[in-house]
């Protein structure tokens, strides 16, 4: 397998896990997190600092990062989760903006625009490609665990509780449920999942720059979930394949496979063409399948 495809599949697995986490937060818990990249970025930088600057063992660094992200989300969640959905959206977006700003200005810690690295793979094989293949497999397995958890949770007492909070928090509280506490812990747990995959992105990038944690990471995940269908976790998978995979890797690979040669002028225009096609696809989905590609008959009583 070529290095290009190993990287492509690794990124797709990471983004599927992010979309799965967003599905857990938004579709099961009713939490509008627009700061996904904040938790993702904190974890990516912390992991890099731990293994590069502090020379910590990768597994210990990973556990520490996930724990820190959990605590950060716990504190943030306690402050913002009793606010309305719009306020939560703005607060999480603000959190992500602060993280990116810190990554840009704390030059002594993050390297700022010069970046920080080099993050190696957590294992050392003779062939670099073997290291990357194993890492890709680990990412696929972890992403699959997230998806299975998301698929299974709906049919558990906890899933029913979180769905009840999403639908009608006051009614759920009137049944004796400690709704705010549950929301805060659930938010922290799902943000820790995002953090796990943020940390695991560092060895793929090897060198970390602030422009890796722009808001478009959040937007891609949200768009993928809406496009794929918010009411099923498989919508997250379909959405990522139809966005991240298709537009970042698929189209270019197909053109290359069919030996379609593009001139330099066309090559310069290509990113904008991709965006236009992406936009057109979104409009088509909203027009003809407003509940997403993977939609079911009932969504809050509506088709």
């Amino acid at each position: 397998m070529s290095s290009y495809w190993i990287q492509a599949i690794s990124f797709v697995a990471i983004f599927i896990a992010l979309a799965g986490s967003l599905y857990l937060q938004s579709s099961i818990g009713g939490i509008t997190n627009f700061g996904i990249v904040g938790f993702f970025g904190v974890a990516m930088y912390l992991y890099t600092i731990f293994v590069v600057t502090l020379a910590m063992p990768p597994l210990l660094a990973l556990l520490a990062v996930v724990g820190i992200v959990f605590v950060v989300a716990l504190v943030l969640g306690r402050v913002i989760l009793n606010l309305g959905p719009q306020s939560i959206l703005v607060a999480t977006l603000a959190f992500a903006t602060i993280i990116r700003h810190l990554a840009t200005v704390l030059e002594g810690v993050t390297g700022a625009a010069k970046g920080i690295g080099t993050v190696k793979m957590p294992w050392d094989f003779e062939k670099t490609s073997d290291e990357k293949i194993l890492f890709m497999v680990v990412l696929i397995v972890l992403a699959a665990i997230v998806l299975l958890y998301a698929a299974k949770i709906k049919k558990t007492p906890y899933g029913r509780l979180m769905l009840s909070i999403k639908d009608n928090e006051v009614l759920s509280e009137s049944l004796g449920k400690a709704t705010l506490n549950h929301k805060v812990i659930y938010f922290a747990f799902t943000c820790a999942i995002i953090g796990l995959f943020g940390a695991l992105t560092a060895p793929i990038y090897t060198y970390i720059f602030p422009h890796f944690i722009l808001a478009d990471v959040t937007f891609v995940v949200w768009i993928a979930l809406i496009l794929g269908g918010r009411m099923s976790v498989w919508g997250a998978v379909v959405g990522i394949v139809a966005t991240k995979f298709l537009f970042d890797f698929g189209i270019e690979s197909a053109l290359s496979a069919f030996q379609v040669r593009m001139g330099p002028a066309f090559g310069a225009m290509w990113p904008n063409i991709k965006l236009a096609v992406f936009g057109a696809m979104l409009i088509a989905i909203f027009m003809f399948r407003p509940n997403g590609i993977v939609s079911r008959k009932r969504e809050g009583g509506q088709q």
Binding site: I153, T156, P157, Y158, L171, G176, R298
Partner: protein, 252 residues
């Protein structure tokens, strides 16, 4: 007639700006199994229910809840805490969980909090088994078109609201128009359920209703409210014959 009180209202006042919508100097609730709260529109009945359940906050005063001879000040307790100590309310306006089927909704009511943990992925079979008998009893008692589907009619949602409350096995239930919108046969079933719960399980219920036939038929004691005050309380016979009640509510 049961003895003892469950709720004590002491100088309970609610004001919006300069307007007083509820002003109760001293009143106790829960001395009887089923009590009624009646009064004309705008009398402050729903406001009082909202104050007891802390959906809105008091301007002045204190509300106490009695549990096992212990007096608990519930003036600032959250809805969740109230439910956990045994005080629940059903809703006047239809409330439901759109994502949950009827069965899921009943399972939610019965779920013990230790089962509701994000890491417990495999407890559902056990939770269902534990709840099976009780849910089957309710589904046998009331009729739902499809218990494994969603509650589609307003009547089914209203019934579900009542059942969810009962399943919590509270000490005291506040019911704001519990039978509004229910068909006659289901209304009778709901009344039968309330009587059964008060007689067999010692539950106490306060019903807010405009259906006076229902009130005269099921309540042992009635509180008549007007202009934010409890004006009179007594047995259905006493209330029926009271001049003030006739003048302000029933009509001559």
């Amino acid at each position: 007639m049961s003895s003892g009180k469950v709720i004590h209202l002491k100088n309970v006042v609610k004001k919006y700006g300069g307007r007083t919508v509820c002003d109760i100097k001293d009143n106790v609730l829960g001395e009887c199994g089923i009590e009624g709260l009646i009064g004309p529109n705008g009398a402050g009945k729903t406001t009082l229910i909202n104050l007891i359940s802390n959906k809105i906050s008091l301007t002045e005063g204190q509300i106490s809840f009695f549990k096992d001879d212990e007096e608990i000040d519930i003036s600032k307790s959250s809805l969740g805490k109230l439910a956990r100590i045994g005080l629940v309310r059903s809703n006047q306006i239809i409330q439901d969980f759109d994502s949950l089927t009827i069965m899921d909704s009943l399972l939610l009511s019965l779920a013990p909090s230790k089962q509701e943990r994000f890491y417990k992925l495999f407890g559902d079979k056990k939770a269902r088994k534990m709840a099976e008998e009780e849910i089957a009893w309710y589904l046998d008692f009331f009729h739902f078109n499809d218990p494994y589907g969603h509650a589609d009619s307003a009547g089914e949602k209203k019934l579900l609201d009542v059942i969810r409350c009962m399943m919590l096995k509270p000490k005291y239930v506040l019911m704001d128009e519990p039978t509004a919108g229910l068909p006659e046969d289901q209304t009778q079933k709901a009344i039968e359920l309330m009587k059964k719960k008060t007689q067999e399980e010692g539950m106490k219920i306060l019903i807010v209703e405009h259906d006076l036939e229902l009130i005269w038929g099921v309540c042992e004691k009635i509180h008549f409210m007007s202009e934010g005050k409890i004006m009179i309380k007594g047995t259905p016979e006493e209330i029926k014959c009271n001049e003030i009640v006739h003048k302000k509510y029933i009509g001559e």
